[in-house]
Symmetry: C2
Subunit: 615 residues, 2 copies
């Protein structure tokens, strides 16, 4: 295996302009505060006081993870932005957590208050998942502020876990029901340099799905990816967020240890995910039952679950795969999720959220499903809300997009990597690298380089067209391999590499094996997936067809943050009333307005469709 | 309103050859006996003995209707075929029923044995539905054998119902939860000439959905079409079999009374059904929840409920609409149901049945739905079974197809009507009319006429092409209006009118408002809907596409009873593994074998699709 390239960390990289800068500003100014208010109101933050009694809501087993993710998100925003209020709130919450922590290191606002006798007895109860999020918050908060109280608390808790689970086997289960601790331990190991956390991480990864691990199980093992040892897994099974966190940790361990079997499993799982079970938006997990992957080619649009956290998890997995394997498809896919299936989880106003991200919505379909579907049937909501009972997605949006700069750059001994485009700067061991770009409103990026003897790899997205590359104004050859352009140095300080490409409007079709997408196309431009919304196109979106191919009109739209696309198409004549006919249906021409998928449902409840009939 | 044309009754018409003769022979030789055996085994026939105790199954509230429909079916077959065994069994069952009947006329093997104190107290409990089926059985058995015991018993029971419901209002409800009594009373009125049964029928029709009728209701009124007075109803709502029985009775009453408001309601309901809510197979009732209609354009293929009884009910409604309105679309639609969505309820062997008739089936879809659908989720079975817990469909198939000749001819004062094609003869008041035809294996029919001064109307199906008409070998003009060719008499005895047309293979498309059928076509030939089955075409039917247009190869298939069609098409290359692409998918040509929809699932469980991707 080749030496591992590292991502340039969120602390050492900074987004300085453009679409993602605007989103990060919104996260700091609106989202972080909106979630804070909701978590205060619902008792999540109060739960850390460890009190019970009249008027105090009973904590939920995963409330600590919500709080920890909020701290991690606030900390990520503090990396490059001062905000005394956010920092003070983090300090207060961390102080509560440290005060609550038990003598032996245990920390859980549910079990310590409600069921102290039952700690580490139920695999499904999210204790190690919560610790994982505490650890991630602690690492980022230390990076942002240098304050180490939470880090020390987490280390103490992790040491307890190491003793109870790995050394003594005295817990009632071997591996957690909801993965997260594994990748967090890797992060703790990398942050502290302490090998024991890597050892514990390996223990959890290597134990999962073994005969002993399975013997304690009461429910379908594949729900939490424990149906077989992880190195033998070839298809994405079970709860999609858990799966992504596990696969992310597997990729971390494979990179750390040069573990070829683990790497091969990651590659197989990746391909099963993106080539068989992923929505075109980067959403994953088709079914609300178990919030799960289902089977190959099962990608219903209206009934899509496609949890925000799962799309975020796919991006996290992709970023880690890049350490193992320099292939453009990883960031192509991460961008799909980040610009579409995950970002749709956040309103344009920054203070409302989707948990599920269906690819089609209609009030009528919801009504049909509610009334005529099966008992206990499920359907997505059509407007974002401020908070959920299970409100994992909002703070996950905050922490992942708050540290989005970690996706931009990579480095190793003899190379620098530009994985993703955003106006930004990053400190590498060769010096500062900068990008100036209006991506994805337009194609291309201008990269200002540090001087040095290294190779520069720049990702060229799979959908990019008309590539041209100049170094200091002079055209240079632009051979692309596996989605990366490679320019060999040495480079002089402030050499400027311009990579230009167009963002064509594409009409994607789904593999014919996806039955429900026959005859339909998805309009994309660069990494951005588009949809039709009733507000722009009238009701009965089913009845609209887009002309393929046709020439798009692209108009920047400041409210949506990304361009709006107009394409010619048609709709059925009003009088066209028959149900079946051998002749062509009478249609009249019309103009169709496509908006970025992530921006749907910001103008009231209405119909939406990603996959549109082609004509 | 024009004078009403009558259907030539099943007693006066007889099918003498061809596809339907073969089916009626199968019904007599296999189906009637298979259902008999199952109903004996399950205790349905035994329930009429009115006994309870160890080893005697507890009767179900609708068992009497199963038995009555079996008698009606056997009676229909006895109209033109001797069968001492069937007749003896009918006699035995009728003797049991008459012995069970209470002094006051009440007859119900459930309530008399299990809850004698609760008769006529619960609207949902099918008492009047069972009586309706007893009446229909009694009328046909009298016609077939001249034996009137059951008829007399039914009259006595109907008189009790008239007193309790209409005169005294002493029942706990006003109109039954499952319609059927209404059309049966009309039949009883026509058979006996007794006006009181027409009065009682009108009472039930006119009372349904009135404020008083609704006041006693505990559940959604639209479930049994009681959400508003029947003359105000414009959309097909609720349980689809109940709806069809109600609309059939409404059409009977409209014809009998020249009731224009009732006729107008029937026409609106008809159009809502066939132009918005009917499967291309003539199946209706999209959802298993309440076995119900849902909303316009909601016609899922895999999840289709499309109960056999509902398609039969649509044919019964269509036949009655023809009395009100001479339009080809009624029999075009009835044929759709009779050749497809209802006939699929019967195996080619004659002894196994479908209750539901989905338009697509795959073992994988069933697995996905079972595992990943909602709690209590529903999916159709993939192979026919011998009997159901709720086994209404098998005897319904027996009685409707057993009397199928009633669909063929109509008459009024100055005209004869040929509505449907089958080798047959019928006694009209002008004399005997005969058809000689191989329909629908081939197009056209040769009609031998009685002499007389009348007009002859012959239906020309909407899909028919290349029409030519000869009278005694000489071409005559062939003007078609509203789907009927009219030839003015007078005619000489044995004049021969030959109506020839071709049965083109059509590629039907669904209205674009039906989202899930985008890009797909349904192959039909004449009234017969075709489907792909895995046995002929391999697995992954989703991945097949049929060339549109293309030239079919038609091959008669004795096993299926109707031709098999071969068409060119394509399937995905094995290597075609990506999930989304802007380029065309690599495909290779193949030949697709389409079989008649009704004949699917006769060779073991396998995939099936009616709607096929078009290329």
């Amino acid at each position: 295996m080749k030496p591992v390239r590292e991502n340039v960390s969120a602390k050492r990289a900074e987004i300085t302009g453009g679409f993602w800068k605007e989103k990060q500003d919104l996260l700091k100014n609106v989202t972080a505060r909106a979630i804070w208010d909701r978590f205060e109101e619902t008792g999540r933050f109060g739960a850390l006081l460890g009190k019970t009694g009249e008027g105090i809501p009973k904590p939920h087993i995963f409330w600590d993870s919500d709080t920890a993710k909020w701290i991690e998100g606030a900390a990520a925003l503090l990396l490059h932005r001062k905000d005394a209020e956010l920092e003070a709130k983090c300090d207060e919450l961390i102080a509560r957590a440290c005060a609550l922590q038990a003598e032996d290191g245990y920390l859980n606002s549910y079990f310590q208050v409600i069921e102290p006798e039952n700690r580490f007895t139920r695999r499904s109860q999210h204790e190690l998942y919560c610790l994982g999020h505490w650890i991630e918050a602690a690492v980022v908060y230390d990076e942002a502020t240098g304050k180490k109280e939470l880090l020390h608390a987490c280390e103490k808790y992790a040491d307890l876990v190491d003793r109870v689970f790995r050394a003594e086997h005295s817990a009632a289960f071997d591996t957690p029901g909801h993965e997260e601790i594994e990748l967090a331990l890797y992060r703790l190991y990398r942050h502290t340099g302490k090998e024991k956390y890597m050892t514990l991480m390996r223990y959890f990864i290597d134990t999962r799905g073994t005969a002993r691990d399975r013997s304690q199980e009461e429910r379908d093992q594949s729900y939490h990816q424990a149906h077989m040892p992880v190195r033998e897994q070839e298809t994405c099974e079970g709860h999609s967020v858990r799966a992504m966190y596990l696969y992310s940790a597997m990729a971390d361990q494979a990179a750390e240890d040069g573990d070829e079997a683990l790497r091969a499993a990651c590659v197989k799982l990746w391909h099963n995910c993106v080539s068989r079970r992923m929505y075109v938006t980067g959403g994953i997990g088709s079914s609300h039952v178990g919030e799960s992957f289902t089977e190959d080619w099962d990608l219903p649009s209206h009934a899509a679950y496609a949890e925000t956290c799962a799309a975020l998890g796919l991006a996290l997995f992709a970023r880690r795969m890049l350490r193992l394997d320099l292939k453009g498809e990883y960031m192509d896919t991460a961008e799909l999720a980040l610009y579409n299936g995950a970002l749709s989880g956040l309103s344009l106003s920054g203070d409302a959220f989707f948990y599920e991200n269906p690819l089609a919505y209609s009030p009528r379909y919801s009504r049909v499903v509610q009334r005529w579907g099966s008992k206990g049937v499920h359907h997505a909501i059509g407007e974002r809300v401020k908070v959920f009972g299970c409100s994992c997605c909002p703070p996950n949006v905050l922490r992942v997009y708050g540290a989005l700069q970690e996706f931009l750059y990579g480095e190793d001994e003899d190379a620098l990597y530009v994985h993703m485009f955003a106006s930004s700067r990053a400190q590498t061991h060769f010096g500062e690298i900068r990008q100036d770009t209006d991506y994805p409103r337009a194609g291309g990026t201008a990269i200002t380089l540090p001087g040095g003897r290294y190779a520069l790899y720049v990702r060229v997205p799979g959908w990019a067209r008309e590539l041209s590359v100049t170094l200091n104004g002079k055209t240079i050859p632009s051979q692309v391999r596996d989605g990366y352009l490679c320019v060999q140095g040495p480079f002089a300080q402030n050499d400027c590499l311009k990579v230009d490409f167009t963002l064509p409007v594409l009409f994607l079709r789904a593999n014919p094996k996806v039955s429900n997408l026959a005859g339909k196309v998805c309009v994309t431009r660069g990494p951005v997936v588009y949809c039709l919304e009733e507000k722009d196109n009238g009701a009965e979106l089913n009845d609209l067809a887009v002309r393929v191919p046709s020439v798009p009109v692209i108009r920047q739209d400041p409210a949506m943050g990304l361009p709006v696309i107009t394409l010619p198409g048609s709709r059925g004549e009003e009088a066209c009333g028959a149900l079946y006919a051998a002749e062509a249906w009478p249609r009249r021409n019309c103009s169709l307005t496509f908006i970025p998928f992530h921006a749907w449902a910001n103008r009231g409840e209405n119909e939406m469709q990603v996959w549109v009939r082609a004509e």
